[in-house]
Symmetry: C2
Subunit: 346 residues, 2 copies
């Protein structure tokens, strides 16, 4: 197992990435790593964490970095030697089994689409974000890679999301729901109504339309959405979560009594905050490209980097992409209308 | 000022509605009311709250109620004498200046569309929900009335949303943003990209694309969205807010120390919860119909009902609909491309 790690990705690179890699080296003794980025900068941190001479790490130099603030298209076009593009090249060439980056989501999507290409039968790769439900988590797919989608894209997201959920939740028949504006079958917009009748035919555990509130109560393990609606949901709840902490701080610091109360319960607030973290998973896979690619949050912790590496390795071992292709073929074989439709759109 | 109040709307009708009406009677001595619903049931509560013989209340009987669990189309088609439909008829006939219902949103949208019709120049009415920002509030329009939208619909939402924000925030130039998946001008889906170039021409304070997270930090006072994306955002944050209270309770009750802390700070949690309430506004107006209609939350409190009545009256006094029509005409006159486009789509 060889994994390319983008050493320059994220807000706290390369320090945090190298620290996460240090943990992964210890925890996954069978993995080898290609650490990509500005070699001189990386070496400084490799020495700092005492892994400069580890034979399981190969360094690959990359001149530039896709800055988090840059538009992704510009970043990919102008920076052909960025750490993200270099990771994508390694993945394309088969030099590594998977790549991990806590870097620029848009640039990673753009670079892998161009270089690594889609899996056979997949038109558009999608981002499978994992969000906290009241009990456990659920997967939101697509979380933002494709603002405009066709019904066929959503069908493919359903298959890919189900397969990823089978791995992540160790559940053979995870509940797949279609994000909509009402629970009844006939609710939604034209895209979701048309998608509904196609997804219904798939050999998956489809639970129908699911609203953005009931999914938190366990209505679905996988929520299928176009990348616009998915991203609005993701960003909306990120915004509210941040605001809730802001309001909580404000109301708790209003007087001395409340401050004492807050101090006594301070571990509870730490735990509350942790519900929002995806540290246990480390990031969101970009599903549908011809390789395994995990994209971490820009503010990934070392633990998140370590777990993104774990998930990347496990997805390879699970043969995630092989299973997606097999499921796609099963869908073609069992659902005539869908098959015709899939061919027609090509 | 005469306001029709749907006495049967919402989860706790008619008790909560009549209690809210009792407060409104005292607070707004110049308002008159038409209370709509099952007369016998209403009379019981009117007597309970000591307003059975108040000369400022007229009772109008309505046989049926649109149940919150019913699909809206069925509800409107089958229940021609429901309290919502009766309110809409009164509004259409000019018997009242405004209507207020804490009832079925979908049924209200459907009934008013058919009976009250749109304002001249408006193709689709939209729901203007008000959400808490870190400081103050922002308006989300459309929050769910129109799952499928055209660019022209979004242009009209921008004009209506701006006018409503001028009233609600007492701000002559509220910031109007377009909900998108990136802050840059060229980000978005085809609908929003096309809408962007039209909204940009409007004589309003357009701040461009705004993401669903930064709006909580004050990026916009009005967030324009198609009803699908708007509803996903609204429901998504409702779901997270509910889950956050669930998690908070869970982590605070883990041990005695935390429980004591929570008890000391209990007023803080009450205040935190209040950030989510729209009690001060009482509901969301359905903008773009030829009349004033405020739709409250199904779980409206008496205070929320009272404030929905206040907002309804104030919207009439503000001449909200007159101002919307004037702004539409101004937009037609100043923006040639837009004007051509608006005519073309007719």
């Amino acid at each position: 197992m060889k994994i390319a790690v983008d050493g320059m990705g994220g807000d706290y690179a390369p320090g945090v990435v190298v620290e996460g890699l240090t943990i992964a080296l210890a925890d996954f003794p069978e993995y080898e790593f290609v650490l990509v980025g500005h070699t001189a900068k990386l070496k400084f941190y490799l020495e700092k964490y005492g892994i400069a001479n580890n034979p399981r790490i190969t360094l690959v130099h990359a001149d530039t970095v896709c800055e988090m603030s840059e538009p992704s298209a510009v970043s990919v076009r102008k920076k052909r030697n960025s750490s993200i593009t270099t990771c994508a090249k390694l993945l394309k060439e088969g030099a590594v089994d998977a790549m991990v980056t806590p870097g620029h989501t848009g640039a990673t999507v753009a670079a892998t689409k161009v270089l690594v290409r889609s899996l056979p039968g997949i038109d558009r790769p999608g981002l499978a974000a994992s969000l906290p439900a009241q009990q456990g988590r659920f997967i939101l797919m697509d979380a933002g890679a494709n603002p405009d989608c066709t019904p066929v894209n959503l069908v493919q997201f359903a298959i890919m999301g189900e397969t990823y959920a089978q791995y992540l939740f160790k559940d053979k028949a995870p509940k797949v729901g279609l994000l909509s504006v009402g629970g009844e079958d006939n609710k939604g917009k034209s895209l979701t109504k048309e998608s509904f009748s196609l997804i219904e035919e798939l050999p998956i555990n489809f639970v129908g339309n699911v609203e953005a509130d009931t999914v938190f109560e366990g209505a679905a393990d996988v929520l299928i959405a176009d990348g616009f609606a998915g991203n609005v949901m993701l960003k909306g709840i990120e915004g509210l979560a941040k605001s809730t902490l802001f309001w909580l701080k404000k109301v708790l610091s209003k007087n001395a009594l409340r401050l004492v109360g807050a101090m006594l319960a301070k571990n509870a607030f730490r735990e509350l905050k942790a519900f929002g973290d995806a540290d246990d998973i480390g990031g969101a896979p970009l599903l549908g490209i011809n390789g395994i690619c995990i994209i971490g949050h820009g503010s990934s912790s070392p633990k998140a980097v370590r777990n993104a590496i774990r998930v990347a390795g496990e997805c390879v071992e699970f043969d995630l992409n092989g299973k997606i292709i097999a499921k796609l073929q099963e869908a073609h074989a069992t659902t005539e209308e869908l098959s015709a439709r899939l061919l027609e759109e090509k």
